[in-house]
Amino acid sequence: AQSVTQLDSQVPVFEEAPVELRCNYSSSVSVYLFWYVQYPNQGLQLLLKYLSGSTLVKGINGFEAEFNKSQTSFHLRKPSVHISDTAEYFCAVSGSSFQKLVFGTGTRLLVSP
């Protein structure tokens, strides 16, 4: 079975500061990893994904994440956040069949001026 742990339920940060949102996964098979963002009253939007190849993946809105197989992690980073990045961020994993996604409990990023 697959599972995802997001260690921080909430991360407060000042505008223009860097941020890292942590994600660890557990799986006995090859995995594919995703980060989704959910703005208030909106649906989930894909930020980035890791399927294979380079372990550093770049996504939309200046976000990037690094897949670390030995640490079973897929942390999300942004070098300089904006107020508009305030949202809920979900890490998710799926198996090779690309069927169901298993999500973490989410991390609320709060960016203040």
Binding site: V4, G43, L44, Q45, K49, L51, S94, L101, F103
Partner: protein, 113 residues
């Protein structure tokens, strides 16, 4: 193009009533997924359709929940004898067959009084 749409956006019902939630996937997407997101949690998988058939319904919590997709496009999630614990946001997603990216709708917020 049009994204995934879900209706209604909000539904308030009384305990014991029957509800139907509708999902219109992106045109041409043969895969369709339902998830449930309770307050403060990540989305949890309910059921996955490939075409008209349910390929994986392992996430349905009990036999009060049922979903159909008779023509391989629109899907309806049906909940009988609703309970207060069914209150959640029900999310629908779709994808191209065999593709990893799921596109989410805005969700239906269900409140059972």
């Amino acid at each position: 193009g049009a994204g995934v749409s879900q209706t209604p956006s909000n539904k308030v019902t009384e305990k014991g009533k029957y509800v139907e939630l509708r999902c219109d996937p992106i045109s041409g997407h043969t895969a369709l997924y339902w998830y449930r997101q309770s307050l403060g949690q990540g989305p949890e998988f309910l059921i996955y359709f490939q075409g008209t058939g349910a390929a994986d319904d392992s996430g349905l919590p009990n036999d009060r929940f049922f979903a159909v997709r008779p023509e391989g496009s629109v899907s309806t999630l049906k909940i009988q004898r609703t309970e207060r614990g069914d209150s959640a946001v029900y999310l629908c997603a779709s994808s191209l067959a065999g593709k990893e990216t799921q596109y989410f709708g805005p969700g239906t917020r269900l409140l059972v009084l």
